[in-house]
Symmetry: C2
Subunit: 290 residues, 2 copies
């Protein structure tokens, strides 16, 4: 089923003119093209989906942009979101060898690209790694780092750690490195002056969108963080201004854990949400018993 169609379920979308009396999409593109924008990078805006089409066309530096009536979601649509959120897992071993259909992968990357970003910086890139030799080298980098990580644990905990499978680098047919270009958007980025890491956080938002979209498509995703950062930078030829935020293993799954795998395997328990909620200020020494 093509992205964008869900016959009979969505309220008819309001066209721009219904609310704002403004212009057509092509007219909007022309106006956006004509904008002088010091931070502008691409010749015209990329449209994630129909819902992202501008209904209010910038006329100048301070365009009369206006919000529209907000799309409402039905209880059934909300439930679909909650079901995806709760079915999402960090997958290590359930990957099937089947390749990921390009159209499906595109939908998943579009979802990532629709993430929020500080100052609309969109600092992310997506490196699709299928080459077997490169994935073997990445796996070797994991093995080296994992030996160091295992040595951090003692006794029973170390043997428990050693028994856990923590990556699907070679089993998954596709790996995706999600990176953050710390220099994108120039020296000054709106919203980043007082927290330089907002661009990294924006990139993580893209990762979470990608993860949820993948799960809804029947794809598992596993985030591998057990690497010496420099090993991966070398293997992916990352320039100095680019940081690796997430190394993801991606592939079809037909099985998944009903709870987080580390919980199912007795590594660590789910915390009580009530113990994590506070009113107006921090309460207690550290909120959840450290």
């Amino acid at each position: 089923m093509p992205l964008g169609s869900a016959p009979g379920r969505r309220p008819p979308r309001q066209t721009p003119s219904q609310k704002t009396g403004l212009t057509t999409w092509s007219g909007a593109v022309e106006r956006v093209r004509s904008l002088s924008n010091a931070e502008s990078i691409m010749p015209e805006p990329y449209v994630v989906s129909e819902t992202a089409r501008p209904s209010t066309a910038p006329e100048q530096g301070h365009p009369p942009a206006k919000p529209e009536q907000a799309r409402e979601f039905t209880p059934t649509e909300r439930q679909a979101l909650y079901d995806v959120i709760n079915a999402r897992r960090d997958v290590r071993n359930e990957f099937l060898p089947d390749p990921v259909d390009p159209a499906m992968l595109r939908r998943v990357l579009e979802a990532a690209h629709a993430a929020p970003s500080v100052g609309f910086m969109q600092p992310w890139n997506f490196i699709l790694i299928r080459d077997a030799a490169r994935r073997r080298a990445v796996h070797a980098a994991f093995e080296a780092a994992n030996a160091e990580a295992e040595a951090m644990f003692e006794g029973e905990k170390r043997s428990h750690y050693a028994a856990l499978k923590l990556e699907g680098i070679l089993k998954a047919p596709l790996n995706i490195a999600v990176t953050c270009d710390r220099t994108r958007g120039g020296k000054v980025v709106l919203g980043r002056t007082h927290n330089r890491d907002m661009d990294l956080y924006s990139t993580v938002c893209a990762v979470q969108n990608l993860w949820l979209a993948a799960r809804a498509e029947g794809l598992g995703v596993g985030w591998v963080s057990i690497f010496r950062q420099q090993d991966l930078r070398n293997l992916l030829d990352l320039p100095e201004n680019v940081e690796l935020v997430a190394y993801l293993c991606v592939g079809h799954i037909d099985e998944a854990f009903a709870q987080p795998e580390l919980q199912a395997r007795g590594w660590r328990k789910r915390l009580d949400l009530d113990a994590l909620i506070m009113e107006d200020r921090w309460q207690g020494p550290d909120g959840a018993g450290g």
Copy 2:
């Protein structure tokens, strides 16, 4: 409509015994309770939703945990997820004064708590800020920082910046500070040995889940990052081991921008996704023209 019900749309859920021949939920709780787990914090696992119930009960340090048949999502459910992802906005000015229903807020926080976390660390806390005096103090902290931020821009860009509304701290009836306890889970956390910031990234995943759930519920969310960090730490009484990751303004909306507000207002354009995708290794000097 209560969370969990979507009559007639979901495939019947597999009960644990169908696949694993294992135990009932209450039996699972008993076994989990009986676990000795060095990192264990709460007396029993918190259950996010029916789908999160453990079907494989840990018997010991290395339980025979097994995955189940994976929940499949229909094209209609996938479309609901994509529509929420594409309708989500960073809201500054569209907040309505109506209070947020506690049950709705609970569903949104449960979605955040269902986020992935490194080593199942769950390092987040949620500080719900409704007190008007405290929000006025937070707003004053924003004003001070924003004057510094505005001064970073020059000429036309500065006047454009000055014309943007960048927060809804007082207009939104609820603010939520999402924090990260850097010490939760003890000295050694699985997956964090080689990247100490994985706990911050986990917390951002919770923020993105919260943001999407809120949008599906008809709530707008705005992430305010224009603060001197120490000002907010003082106002929220954060202990040294706790970092503020996101300060969110939350409230009902009946209007929303059809595209990111900074795009609608001509501040910055949507990048072309094709320019952000690479194969096997970094290509080009910086991937999207800096």
